[in-house]
Amino acid sequence: MSQPCKRFAPRLAWLALLLLLLLSFMAAVAFGSVDLSITQVLGALTGQPLEGYGAAIVQSIRLPRALLAAVVGAILAISGAYLQGLFRNPLADPSLIGVTAGASVGASLAIVFGAAGLGFVSGLSLVSLGAFAGGLLAVWLVYKVSSSVNGTSVATMLLMGIAVSALAASLTGLMDYFADNEMLRRLSLWRMGGLDGADYWRASMAAAILVIMLLSMAGFSRGLNTLLLGESQARHLGIDVERLKTRLIILVAAGVGVSVAMAGSIAFVGLVVPHMVRLWVGPDHRLLLPLSALGGASLLLLADTAARVVVAPTELPVGLVTAILGAPFFISLLRSRRDTLR
């Protein structure tokens, strides 16, 4: 086990991921039930008139959807990297430890009790706020139970994820039971909605959270790096650990909350992307966080394109595609780490 490490040069990784993001964004706009050529796509994006419905397809359907997918993918990947740093454990993922489920319950509660009377935008904000509150409660609960001085136990963390998800499922069931027809209709509409409900409003609300996450990233990197050494080690290096943890938990809840509210539950992006990036450039958060954002945006764009193309003219939920990719990945991770699991 004494191989020297082989890593990508950071500049190469930046370049490769930026290129990947650009290509997957173009692909997401170009492919679908109607395929467009590159010149058509570029024309529509720059606002030139096109023959047929090309411009309308790009501007009112595919562009907002691609934007939402990219933003949500980036948010989920950053949230995953934050959680893994917080738990000092590369197996943490918003969906595996129940944050996504908690956010869904919060969003459903907001739909059942509040969002009805409000307009579109304030309704969406309320749903996001509910999802944020639910996600916050879930991540705080899991963190409290599963972390100790010596790091976090993988087993406890995953079991807490199961417990929180089960609780969330039962709460959702209760809500369905007590909801009247009108509410049931709204709930199931929201649950069915994924990226196909994308519009510029949703994309920009998610983008607002992404901007906050991107701006906060630089300030967290050093603290997160030392946190990997251990909590008291980070404290001895002058990091205010409690403040760092509180802020991370709030940001993750906000990120997962808004992504659940805008695009439904999408699993495994937060697990797969930071893991791949770590393999390429190492665990230093100063690289890991921005590159994960790029990778997450690309992955969700590609997954969504695949979801729209394979069964065109209908489409698969994008969460299905990421789960098909992510679950085997998770299993192989578990298998390779089974000796070191505590």
Binding site: S2, P4, C5, L228, G230, S232, G238, D284
Partner: protein
């Protein structure tokens, strides 16, 4: 010049008294070793000085200031701590782990890298610069972690008053590296750093420490230079065993031999 004063320190966790009325004063350039049996409170004392535990009463004064009043980041420029357990499962390279020691400073990459290489050279881990930390042996990991801690307070330019706290730094090291590490710590102390460490091996402690502190059940029962503390009577009392103490043929320092079971 005394840089660290521990005054009448008592600590209890969950109602159990772990330390009672400890007094300690450490000079710049001095190496103080804390010895004592398992559960005597050695680690508790270090953790209290490093602000991981809050004392019931008593005070810790560092560089003429109450230690708990120093902001964490300022404290980190003066005081470096090596804890007993350092679990790290993420694939940092050796150099990256050592470089984390420079977190409290903003001295720039060039100076930081230079310091990291110097600290790694002092602990004979230069060959581990590019290796991944999780793939190293326990002893190699331990030496990388110590290099990180030394890098944290390497230069007097960053902070004049410097204190190094080491909890069992030589566990899992072979005998050659044990002596090399102690020598590196000794040389580091000479550059103007106060060192307080816990060591299990009394012979090693006697060979390198200026002063020993013997703890038993949370109380300090002996303090002095190695010749004064490492006596058969004292060790037999503290450790409830029967040892023989002889003088090292070359250095004349006390060597503690274990109980003769034959």
């Amino acid at each position: 010049m005394n840089i660290l004063y521990v005054d009448d320190l008592s600590v209890s966790i969950a109602g159990r008294k772990l330390l009672s009325n400890i007094n300690l004063a450490v000079n710049v350039g001095e190496v103080v070793c804390i010895i004592g049996p398992n559960g005597a409170g050695k680690t508790t004392l270090l953790r209290t000085i490093s602000q991981d535990l809050t004392p019931d009463n008593g005070s810790i004064i560092f560089n003429h200031r109450l230690l708990f009043e120093m902001p964490p980041q300022v404290r980190a420029r003066h005081i470096a701590v090596l804890t007993q357990h350092n679990p790290l499962g993420f694939a940092f390279t050796g150099l990256e782990v050592v470089a984390l020691g420079r977190t409290p400073h903003s001295t720039g990459v060039a100076i930081d890298t230079e310091i990291c290489h110097a600290a790694m050279a002092a602990l004979d881990v230069t060959h581990l610069t590019e290796r991944l930390y999780p793939s190293l042996s326990g002893g190699e990991q331990q030496r990388i972690q110590l290099a990180r801690v030394l890098a944290q307070i390497w230069r007097a330019d960053d902070a004049q008053a410097r204190l190094l706290l080491l909890d069992e730094p030589v566990t899992s090291l072979d005998i050659g590296h044990q002596y090399q590490l102690m020598q590196a710590v000794r040389a580091f102390a000479k550059s103007g750093v106060a060192v307080v460490m816990t060591v299990h091996d009394m012979t090693l402690a006697g060979a390198f420490a200026d002063r020993l502190i013997a703890l038993k059940q949370g109380a300090c029962i002996a303090e002095g230079d190695p010749q004064q503390v490492l006596t058969e009577a004292l060790i037999n009392d503290v450790f409830a065993t029967k040892v023989t103490v002889i003088n090292h043929p070359q250095t004349g320092k006390p060597v503690v031999l274990g109980a003769n079971t034959l």
